[in-house]
Amino acid sequence: MYDIIIVGGGPAGLTAAIYARRAKKDVLLLEALACGGQIVNAHNIENYPAEAHISGAEFATKLYEQVVAFGAEIRYERAVEVKDHGNYKEVVTPYGSYTGKTVILATGFENRKLGVEGEDSLVGRGISYCATCDGNFFRNRTVAVVGGGDNALEDTLYLADLVSKVYLIYRRDSFPGEEETEKLLKERDNVEFVLNSKVTKLIAEKRLTGVEVADKEGNVRELEISGLFVAVGKIPENQNFASLIDLDEAGYAIASENCRTKVPGLFVAGDNRVKQLRQLVTATADGAVAATEAIKYIASVN
């Protein structure tokens, strides 16, 4: 049995692993895809203490290497369920199950899908969730961004420098995202706002060739595009654990600053927890707090 099983290899989970290993605890970290979490998509981080400029991938790589050096065991398996057996917990993956005295859920976010038919099969064939990753492949082509939050506006600005034209499709007529970015977008000749509109259909043969959008009045318009960047928000990845822990309306795990859930020995850290500010620094802080709480819990029950 492990002392601490950490679910999720983003900044929160990796930091928890460092704290747990420094306290000589046996640690298993389960990561569904690859370590690093959302931060790997950040182009340039300028607000992390003592790092004036660092790319998200470089930050994640350094953090990952630090965790490996501390001797945490990492397995690439998605946790599909956590079972509470009182004095120990069981984490189930498609490949097996692992037992631990404590579990820290640091699962973060996943990208919200658009929810239009054919979306999944067109990922990598015109549909993307990462403008900074894929923008380069659409040089001198026409693309569209869907969404109205900060990510959508920033993606549009980033793409406007690369591609010939960007449509920004949003279901309302004003953006909740940064006003400053919106102002910059309005100055661009190659950005066209398509407001009060929803994507109703993806047009594709082998790959995406266009979208159909409908506005509030029901007017339908077809946009010829070769890329669609989906930035319609993120959802906390707590669905697999909803039977054990309390979630708020938006799906965030309810736990206070001490990262404890209502189940003793089960903790939650990082972006998937209810909190005021979701930043790299608050994610790593959560990892430290959750690991420390887990260590205290182990000491108290033994």
Partner: protein, 103 residues
């Protein structure tokens, strides 16, 4: 076998004429998810000699990326006898890549 960096010049020899299955990883230096996938690919490459794992940098090899119609990276393409047999887009965990190589 170590991970092999492939260019337009070495593509034919390393990929098309390979007797073993070849898993191509289309990536770029600035792509965060690609960097995070690298350790998995290195580990897979070191684990067996039954297949080859090669990396193609899409910035340097735009022609190859276009030929494969790569529009999202990381993009993983499995080649057998010079033919594409399967493809996965986005970061994949090791068991998924192992299943892809077996399939």
């Amino acid at each position: 076998m170590a991970l092999i960096e492939v260019t337009k010049e070495t593509y034919e020899q390393e990929v098309l004429k390979s007797e073993k299955p070849v898993l191509i990883d289309f990536n770029a230096d600035w792509c965060g998810p690609c960097q995070m996938l690298k350790p998995t690919l290195h580990a897979l490459a070191d684990a067996s000699d039954d297949y080859k794992i090669v990396s193609i940098n899409t910035d340097n090899e735009m022609e190859l990326a276009m030929e494969f119609e790569v529009f999202s990276i990381p993009c993983l393409v499995l080649m057998k006898n010079g033919q594409e047999v399967s493809r996965k887009v986005g970061v994949q965990p090791r068991p998924v890549l192992e299943a892809m190589l077996r399939g």
